[in-house]
């Protein structure tokens, strides 16, 4: 069964600084990987996804993530954050099988300070 580990529960950062949110996964088969964002009192929305092909994936709002199969990682990055990026970020994994199960990590709270 697949699992996801988000190593940082909180990441504080100043505005315009770069940020990396870490995600590691575990699975016995190939996977699809996703990053979702949750703004306060809202549901989740997709930032980006990795299905296959190029390991560097670009998403909305200037975010990007890199899939590293050998390290089983899918870290999220942004070169310069804004106050409006303050939110909860979730990494998720779905195995390439017939179950369509979608498993989330525990989330990382990104707090951007002026």
């Amino acid at each position: 069964a697949q699992s996801v580990t988000q190593l940082d529960s909180q990441v504080p950062v100043f505005e315009e600084a770069p940020v990396e949110l870490r995600c590691n996964y575990s699975s016995s088969v190939s996977v699809y990987l996703f990053w979702y964002v949750q703004y306060p009192n809202q549901g989740l929305q997709l930032l980006l996804k990795y299905l296959s092909g190029s390991t560097l994936v670009k998403g909305i709002n200037g975010f990007e993530a890199e899939f590293n199969k050998s390290q089983t990682s899918f870290h999220l990055r942004k070169p310069s954050v804004h106050i409006s990026d303050t939110a909860e970020y979730f990494c998720a994994v779905s195995e390439k099988d017939n179950t369509d199960k979608l498993i989330f990590g525990t989330g990382t709270r990104l707090q951007v300070f002026p």
């Binding site: 549901g43 979730f90 099988d97 017939n98 179950t99 369509d100 199960k101 979608l102 989330f104």
Partner: protein, 112 residues
């Protein structure tokens, strides 16, 4: 507006009572999911369904049941609520494993 609808938005429930959280989607998605979100624990999968007529257990299925009689609806039932089931519940749907999941706005459930 197409999307996924959850009801109720919030509910206070006495322990021991039965409760069904409703979830309806109009995107004709095959797969549907129920998650609970708790502080520090992220989103944990309760049950899921690949297609109408089939369901599967997620990470934390105990105390919950689901049904998928048709494509659009995926209700979650708490047969006898306990305080540890106090949480925010999210329903989601998507087509297949490589596609984006769409989420409802959540149901805030308090069991007292």
């Amino acid at each position: 507006i197409a999307g996924i609808t959850q009801a109720p938005t919030s509910q206070i429930l006495a322990a021991g009572r039965r409760m069904t959280l409703r979830c309806t989607q109009d995107m004709r998605h095959n797969a549907m999911y129920w998650y609970r979100q708790d502080l520090g624990l992220g989103l944990r999968l309760i049950h899921y369904s690949n297609t109408a007529g089939t369901t599967g257990k997620g990470e934390v299925p105990d105390g919950y049941s689901v049904s998928r009689a048709n494509t659009d609806d995926f209700p979650l039932t708490l047969a006898s609520a306990v305080p540890s089931q106090t949480s925010v519940y999210f329903c989601a749907s998507r087509n297949r494993g490589n596609t984006e999941a769409f989420f409802g706005q959540g149901t805030r459930l308090t069991v007292v």
